[in-house]
Subunit: 170 residues, 2 copies
């Protein structure tokens, strides 16, 4: 933006200088000068625009890179929920439990490496949590704190993938 | 930075032109024409370059989008292996088995939606398969065919995420 302004200033300076050049051959020279000016303007604008395009493309690329795992990560969250539920089934043998925990840990690790993390569930925050129930506040859980988590929430860097479903004290 | 330098150059060029104003009309006109031509060339080059930058940025964006799930998908494959192994454990209760299969299916589905699919394992292809053992060919499994799969391979669109580890008949 400031780049464009700079270019315009230069162009004005050039115009101001040109106007003082009065000679007999006025019309032919004027035409040539006008053409020079016109293309100089066009060139300066194209050059500034080129830099803008390059800057925007870089920014866009960085954003896509940063959130590239968003779609797949979102789709994997239900598998994590299912794993958690499976681990709560009574009477699992040690082998099965260990196997499930290994799968769970490797999934969480894979997501973490891509920037996906659980949403903290301490103080209630409507930007991160969805309150599906309220309970009276207690000493252990004062008002506006989260008493219970029904389903974990996740975010990718600072972008929320899904809110945590929680019970809030009030 | 380079922009400022370039602008300064332009200003200097303009000044240089002004200094010659006292020479006969012809050279002044020539200079103006030269300047016009120069900026026309510069403009045309900048314009062409702008289009190239835009085209390259688009291509790059499409590639990044197409393979955006590559890193996370690669990291999820070991979880799929673990799930498969867990499902082969003897004496699983029906509940546990169903739970594991649900997790497995949801993971495979999530990967599929992002373009990840199992590598076919029929005829041996060194681009898709890693032969870790060979066995004599049989009627059921002629030479250069895959007799057994030790670990599944996966690809993202046409890009291989990891080869299948196989036993080849020969």
């Amino acid at each position: 933006m400031s780049e464009e302004i700079k270019n315009e200033e230069i162009v004005e300076e050039v115009e101001a200088t040109e106007e003082v050049v009065e000679t007999p051959e006025k019309s032919e020279l004027d035409l040539a000068n006008e053409r020079a000016e016109e293309f100089e303007n066009k060139y300066l604008r194209a050059h500034a625009e080129m830099q803008n395009i390059q800057r925007r493309a870089n920014e866009e690329r960085q954003t896509i890179q940063r959130y590239r795992s968003q779609d797949l990560a979102k789709k994997i969250l239900p598998s994590l929920d299912n794993l958690e539920r499976a681990l709560q089934v009574e009477g699992l043998t040690e082998d099965v439990k260990k196997g499930l925990e290994m799968v769970q840990e490797s999934l969480i690790q894979a997501l973490k490496e891509e920037g996906v993390e659980e949403v903290a569930t301490d103080v209630f925050d409507p930007n991160l949590h969805m309150a599906i129930q309220t309970v009276p506040a207690t000493d252990d859980c004062p008002a506006e704190h989260i008493a219970q988590v029904f389903q974990k929430g996740y975010k990718l860097h600072e972008r929320l993938l899904r809110p945590a479903m929680v019970v809030v004290s009030e």
